[in-house]
Amino acid sequence: MPKVTINGNTIEVPAGTSVIKAAQLLNIPIAHYCWHEGLSVAGACRMCMVEVEKMPKLQVACNTTVTDGMVVFTNTEKVKTAVKWALDFHLINHPLDCPICDQAGECKLQDYYMSYGLYTPEMNQPKVKKEKVVSLGDRVVLDQERCILCSRCVRFTKEVTKTHELGIFNRGDRSQLATFEGRPLNNNYSVNTVDICPVGALTSKDFRFKQRVWFLKEFDSICNGCSTGCNVTISYNQNGVFRVKPRVNHDVNGFWMCDSGRDIYKYTNKEFRLTQVVERSEKLGGDAVRGKPVALALQEIGRQLSQVIKNKGAQSVGLVWSGQYTNEEYSSMGRFFKDLGVSQFYHWKNNEKDFDSFDGILKRGDLNPNTAGLKKELAGLKSWADFEKQVSPLEMIFVMGPENFGAYSDLEENVKVIKKAKEVVWFTACESSLLKEFKWLIPAKSFVEKSGTFVNSKGLAQAFKAGLTIVPDAVSLEEAVKGMQESARMVS
């Protein structure tokens, strides 16, 4: 295993590692635009220049393989001047767009200018004008003037999604990024190009102009869009959640995430959420009453539950589970009901047809993050078909409803089936007009507000922590159990 010394720090790396990867392992920053760990090496930007002992000229760190005994310097005057001039050349035709560019605050040009630049530009020729605000597809917008032609996005569409939509056309300083004729950038991984673009050339239509990056805070979480369980970073501030970006995890998702996962934050924001307890009962006149304190509502539900069990027996209570809750919630809720003698647990599978499909890169057909955890924690789950047969004699049903309504396209039909039971308590994070006929609607916490574990389709358990509170009255299922168990045990 060759040993390399960078700025005096030595590390032993596997053969074939490039200098820039070795520097990354040592936490030494080297300025780069076109190198990306998940893509092939291009060597186009010429920013990662390093001085290697005994080599007369500077070398690019991304394409130089480490040899045993190599000594590399990244902080000599020669290197700093080279990086400054490479940056200067990149900025020659770059438009003065910082006020309107979304990348301000996380732009590599800005960052490297502050560390290596701080010069007065000596260029006095007019800049080359290209097209701005070019729509590349459903989700991505291109600004050709801002592009520094690092070709990260071109290599992404060539190697990762293998759809070959992007290319660099023309030569010299007239080069521009564009899509091939008749091939808009519409694959299911297009927004990853926005993440890897080091400047503001590619921007996401969804996040465009919504918020400045320095107003956002970030925390780590797991995507709840499908059973792959990609690791993500959620960006939020006091106005809500704004975007979702992938995190690196070589066991699960590598460097990328799919576009359907980018929409999961929409169901967590206040506009979609159920913010208060909704109760409908005949003695209140049949109309919905909102705003009861959650603790009181849970106590009443517990009391009603124990009444039903005392009068009609435990077999008249049923539970419908969707795979969108954490392991801890399943085990606490399951144990609570098993102690009371209830054993009718039904699994709500939202898409039977393509449940086991896989698109080859990341997205799976099972659009629930924790089906595997559900099956593990609760033994004896019956299917939806059994539920349809057995629903009518049931007195009370508890539904652990889905959070991500986009994944549950069969919501409307299933609601009709569930209505056949007499009393329904529905735990849901999102509000919908379809749910307005049920007895109790309890606001549940979305996945960004609770801590727990999701088990992905390969059996890997991934823990995540709560990041923020959007609806203060929302409860996780564990808290719901705590609220119900006092009154449920009292009567029986």
């Binding site: 605000v133 102009f209 919504k210």
Partner: protein, 174 residues
């Protein structure tokens, strides 16, 4: 050795002190009665005090030549404001030369400390601190100034032109 002059015994007598003080007041009174024009009281609201050019009063959002707002919603002013009183919502403009513009620009004038940091931070001379003093108003009036009030209020006579004009810059090829 220092000689400290302490107030003399005489100043502790009551009548001479009172008479001297009263004398000054009565002299001022007769002076004001006879020389009405030399009184330095500024009779607001009929007379006004001339402010300097750099006076930091109510904000003005400047406009471009065609009357639209100069502001590009870059949010530097909102970031720099120490009182966190500026709220901006950006939106996409149809003209690709003017990509970004604010659909709502609000300053909570009750929080504003009139420091002028927003004027300093703006890269395109979109906001200025104007020459009107901070206006008082009854409780219940609108104290959150929106774009209409900041850019197009009647005092401004249709809008103040900005000094930073993008057309020249674009014509020169920058």
């Amino acid at each position: 050795m220092s000689v400290v002059k302490r107030p003399s015994q005489k100043s502790k007598w009551y009548i001479p002190g009172v008479l001297t003080g009263l004398g000054i007041t009565i002299r001022h009174m007769f002076f004001n009665l006879l020389h009405r024009k030399d009184i330095f009281t500024i009779e607001y609201p009929e007379e006004r005090y001339p402010y300097s050019d750099r006076f930091k009063g109510n904000h003005i959002l400047t406009v471009k030549k065609d009357g639209s707002l100069r502001c590009t919603a870059c949010m530097l002013c909102a970031t720099y404001c120490p009182a966190e009183c500026i709220s901006i919502t950006a939106a996409e403009h149809d003209d690709p030369n003017v990509e970004k513009y604010p659909i709502s620009y609000e300053i909570d004038i009750l929080r504003c400390v009139f420091c002028g940091l927003c004027e300093e931070a703006c890269p395109v001379d979109a906001i200025r601190m104007g020459p009107e003093h901070q206006t008082a108003a009854l409780a219940g009036s609108r104290f959150v100034y929106d774009i209409n009030k900041l850019a197009y209020r009647p005092n401004l006579k249709g809008g103040v032109l900005s000094h930073v004009d993008d057309e020249e810059r674009k014509a020169r090829g920058l």
